[in-house]
């Protein structure tokens, strides 16, 4: 793929063709316009030479011979004949073989119409089969997991799904069984194909053997209209193809963006569209009437009520929370409305579960490609990418497993990458900075939790040695390791890494869809669009904006605290379900109760929305035109494919309408207008405009540059009491979040959480697995179900956030640096 070394000259059907060094013949031919049929070959997986349909006659000096072009690297002087009689006969012969046991139930099969087996049989196969015997039979589709069905009769055993599961996802839970023509793909007995990435096997299947439940029999390929877009499920920004029929989104497919997701999606990204199309979507504005109930109303009344609430309010008594799932354009419109019209800086897109915005923007940034450089070093100082950023996990796993990158983990709990890590240091909450200091010889000689100083120094030698002499780039994946730990811990640790490792780069792991767009566009306290602070950026906005805030405002937790104290008259929630998403549930509850008028823009009637006074229905990503910014700072297009339910409106339009009612003109009448204004006020966005984005739609355009690094005050962490367990709260791929809960395919996959202990710690508790104990935390005593988990570190207790079972949000106290739990004796 990279052009190092000399090109290789080969001859294909009499034409001279330049192949890249090491390029496979089938790829070189395809790149230069000669298509060779294939089933098992996949550009993102290793050649396996299984189907044999890419046989071509190749002469490497020893006379022409049939060779599988998917296994053959181009060598100088190679003579290839893809149209010779022998080639044609061999290809037709293989296709006839593949059809021997392939049922011709194309009219029933979902793949019919977009089926490589159909297409290639038309182009390269024999006109008819000479097979007159009975085909093999298997039970028709069997579920291999909750969402994927396997029809073994249709399977042509190309090894794509099994290779994906093994090589790419690392969940080798499906494999071949049996021999000869009775070979089948199947799961192991009683062990479903429970992989976060199972949907990819459906997409790579060259026949209809694997089908996904959400699309099964919904439409035929010729019904589908398609538009390329970007996933906003998480901040990786995977490129997707949104396919719809009759104004209804039916399928997301991964698109191979070389810089981002390589065509893979996690199942959450793939199946989330079901939520967008859910019947519970808000389609009309709601207004709290005199009777105290929310009732449907028109946009005019709702906007008037919202505008009335915002008129003549002290800007200091207005707070705007959320907006991390909006498009860049909507985020800009809302920043302009909040900071430029209302004049408040109490704006925060993160809900107390992220990192300080100015700190993230000030770090030297890495792209995914830079982090995954072959032979590079990756330091994970953040959450489990497998649970939170599925597509990024696949890229990281590839870098570590296949490209020789070295992975070093500093995490409180084993992650999905732990099996491939070179060093995996189990860091208890609050101790990350101590471990990082120990890596570079600072601090004492006593072990920090379970990490010995020798081990830490061995890791330090790898990262600093690499940075000095070996030209191996070091990338730190930075994010919140635990929601029960103040962000200061990883911030301090990151600063130590930044100071000790020359040329270290950071890849932010903030997870919400467009949270990086929100930071770039000023939906954070103390920031203005274009990654600038208030004071620095004020002159730029003087002409374009009516006003700018004078001083840095409160972040989300501070705003909620102020609201709880009755200091917030108007609370605007931009798709923010504070009752669920703010780690400290008690604070969220009190904040929402204490706020004056609550204006909520949302897709669903979440518990938070139920407590709002004005509810404005917003559009989902498949119904909105715009752009998003991923964790690298890559701006790519989100495209509208279907019409929104009812009268739901894009968020930017709501900001514009509200501003108009307050007598201000935001100057935005379409998403494109935002870019005209941004190119003036934000130098880092100056090279982006809608035309440029359309040209580079697949890979997007990278935004770089930022403010100087800020150094927040170090966090004071209380020392660990031997008799307590430090709480670790992480997220899992599927939770009870509003979108997952409204996706039919995903809702059932959310696990039930329980307080998990390291097995020896658990044994010491003297409780049976699944039993209950009472623990005391900063929020008082709570009765919890407990169990052992070998991934948990000794001395810690683990919970999943926002799941059924034990509610982590009820244990978390937002002001605490760490949460220590003690077991209340019976």
């Amino acid at each position: 793929m990279n052009d190092v070394g000399q090109s290789v000259e080969i001859t294909v059907d009499g034409r001279t063709v330049l192949a890249n060094p090491g390029e496979l013949l089938i790829d070189a031919c395809e790149r230069t316009g000669t298509y060779i049929p294939r089933f098992c070959h996949h550009p993102r997986m290793r050649p396996v030479g299984m189907c044999r349909s890419c046989l071509v006659e190749v002469d490497t000096g020893r006379g022409p011979a049939l060779q599988a072009s998917c296994m053959l690297e181009c060598s100088p002087g190679m003579q290839v004949d893809t149209e010779s009689e022998r080639t044609r006969k061999a290809q037709a012969g293989v296709l006839e073989f593949l059809l021997v046991n392939h049922p011709l139930d194309c009219p029933v099969c979902d793949k019919g119409g977009e089926c490589p087996l159909q297409d290639q049989t038309m182009a390269f196969g024999p006109g008819e089969s000479r097979f007159v015997e009975e085909k093999r039979h298997f039970e028709k589709p069997i579920p291999v997991n909750d969402n994927v069905f396997l029809d073994r009769e249709r399977c042509i055993l190309c090894d794509r799904c099994t290779r994906f599961a093994d090589e790419v996802a690392g969940d080798a839970l499906i494999h071949f069984q049996g021999r000869g023509s009775d070979t089948e793909v199947n799961t192991f007995p009683d062990e479903p194909f429970s992989s976060y990435f199972s949907g990819n096997t459906v997409q790579v299947c060259p026949v209809g053997a694997l089908t996904a439940a959400p699309y099964r029999f919904k439409a035929r390929p010729w019904d589908l209209e398609e538009v390329e877009s970007t996933s906003v499920v998480d901040s990786v920004g995977s490129r997707i193809a949104v396919q719809s029929s009759r104004d209804c989104v039916l399928r997301f497919q991964g698109v191979d963006a070389d810089a981002v997701n390589w065509g893979w999606l996690c199942d959450k990204e793939r199946f989330i569209f079901e939520a967008y199309d859910h019947e519970d979507r808000l389609g009309t504005p709601l207004l709290r009437g005199d009777d105290g109930d929310l009732a449907p109303t028109g946009w005019g009344e709702a906007l008037a009520a919202a505008a009335a609430a915002l008129t003549d309010v002290d800007p200091d008594r207005i707070a705007v929370l959320g907006g991390a799932r909006l498009t860049n354009e909507s985020q800009y419109a809302w920043t302009k409305f909040a900071k430029g019209v209302l004049g408040t800086d109490h704006v925060d897109a993160q809900l107390g579960d992220g990192l300080p915005a100015d700190f993230v923007l000030g770090l030297p940034r890495a792209t995914i490609d830079e982090a995954c450089t072959p032979g590079g070093i990756i330091v994970l100082l953040g959450p489990d990418p497998k649970e939170e950023l599925g597509s990024l996990y696949l890229r990281l796993r590839h870098a570590v497993v296949h490209d020789g990158a070295t992975l070093i983990e500093l995490t409180p709990r084993a992650t999905g990458l732990t099996p491939f890590a070179d060093h995996s240091l189990r860091v208890r909450p609050g101790e990350a900075v101590d471990v990082v200091r120990a890596m570079f010889g600072e601090g004492g000689t006593a072990p920090i939790g379970g990490v010995t100083v020798e081990e830490a120094q061995a890791v330090g030698a790898i990262v600093s040695g690499a940075a000095v002499g070996q030209n191996r780039p070091v990338t730190v994946l930075l994010g919140r390791q635990s929601l029960a730990e103040a962000p200061g811990t990883v911030v301090d640790a990151a600063l130590v890494l930044h100071d000790w490792i020359a040329d270290v780069r950071f890849l932010s792991m903030l997870r919400r869809g467009n949270v990086h767009g929100a930071l770039d566009l000023g939906l954070a306290p103390g920031l203005l669009p274009g990654r600038v602070g208030l004071d620095e950026g004020r002159p730029r906005f003087a002409a374009a904006w009516p006003t700018t805030p004078a001083t840095k405002g409160r972040d989300a937790l501070e705003s909620l605290r102020a609201a709880a104290d009755g200091e917030v008259d108007v609370l605007v929630l931009l798709g923010a379900d504070v009752l669920t998403d703010v780690p400290d549930h008690d604070l969220a509850r009190r904040g929402l109760e204490g706020a004056g008028t609550v204006i909520a823009l949302d897709l669903f009637a979440t518990p938070t929305v139920a407590a709002a006074d004005v509810v404005l229905p917003a559009t989902a990503p498949t119904e909105t035109d715009g752009t998003v910014t991923n964790l690298e700072g890559r701006v790519s297009i989100v495209a509208r494919k279907v019409t929104p339910p009812g009268t739901a409106r894009p968020d930017w339009m709501i900001a514009v309408e509200l501003a108009r009612r307050l007598g201000a003109d935001l100057g935005i009448s379409s998403p494109d207008d935002v870019w005209a204004e941004l190119s003036v006020v934000s130098p880092i966005h100056a090279h982006i405009d809608p035309e440029a984005l359309a040209v580079q739609a697949r890979e997007g355009i990278l935004v770089s540059g930022g403010p100087a690094l800020v150094r927040p005050a170090p966090l004071e962490v209380p020392s660990h009491d031997k008799n307590s367990y430090r709480l670790v709260v992480t997220r899992s791929m599927y939770d009870c979040g509003v979108l997952t809960a409204h996706s039919r395919s995903l809702a059932g996959l959310a696990p039930v959480t329980r307080l998990a202990f390291e097995p020896t710690d658990f044994a010491a508790l003297g409780v049976a697995e699944g039993g209950r104990i009472e623990v005391r935390g900063p929020r008082g005593n709570i009765d919890v179900v407990v169990g052992p988990d070998s991934r948990v570190t000794k001395g810690t207790a683990h919970l999943l956030f926002n799941q059924r079972g034990v509610s982590a949000g009820d244990l978390i106290e937002a002001t605490a640096a760490v949460i220590d739990l003690t077991v209340v004796p019976v």
Binding site: V108, F217, A219, R220, D223
Partner: protein, 208 residues
């Protein structure tokens, strides 16, 4: 005298048999291959033949067919196999009765009757739903809708002609239900296969 010669024709014709008939009280026999309105057929056991594959909709030049498939409930299947036609609609304001849908159908689920005389008083009547198109579950007879004018024999299916005269068909099978077997109405002997020569002939070329 000239006009008497003109009347000669009139008087001569006055006593001849009339060529017109009092339509609609009286109707002529329709040609064997007339393309009328469609019916959806059932197998002998009452299962629906339609599998919701949408090939008819795909081939329709007038874009008048709307089909959606769905997963067959395993405990109470609508059609054999995994998939059945969940929605089936034909808009007769658009249909040009070209019969391409019949040729495209892989299960012989859709065929055409000889009936073409129907008129509507509103547009929604013109969109025939699956319930209206489906033959009766007991007898296999097409359903007569209130606005349709039927005569004896007009409900027999003409699709045998269409299959026989399609590019791969053989005229030897005119008027015969082919391999699939069909519920009830006017059942005809099943044919043996397309290229096997005589019906009930040798079974040398089974399958194709």
């Amino acid at each position: 005298m000239g006009y008497f010669r003109g009347f000669a024709v009139t008087f001569r014709k006055l006593w001849e048999k009339r060529v017109t008939i009092p339509y609609p009280e009286q109707k002529r026999d329709k040609p064997e291959r007339l393309h009328g309105r469609h019916v959806l057929n059932r197998y002998e056991d009452g299962m629906e033949k339609c599998i919701g594959c949408e090939l008819c909709a795909g081939v329709c030049p007038a874009n008048c067919i709307y089909v959606r498939g769905a997963d067959n409930p395993p405990d109470d299947p609508v059609s054999p196999g995994e998939r059945f036609g969940f929605v089936y609609e034909i808009n007769y304001l658009r249909c040009i009765h070209c019969d391409l849908c019949v040729e495209a159908c892989p299960t012989e689920a859709i065929t055409e009757s000889k009936l073409f005389e129907f008129s509507f008083t509103n547009r929604s009547d013109a969109v025939y739903t699956k319930d209206e198109l489906m033959v009766d579950g007991e007898t296999g007879r097409p359903q007569q809708l209130p606005w349709e004018d039927w005569r004896d024999g007009e409900d027999t299916h003409t699709s045998g002609w269409m299959r026989a005269t399609s590019p791969s068909g053989s005229a030897a099978y005119v008027g015969k239900v082919s391999w699939s077997g069909e519920l009830g109405y006017g059942i005809r002997a099943p044919e043996q296969g397309r290229s096997g020569g005589e019906a009930n002939g040798d079974d040398e070329e089974e399958g194709s």
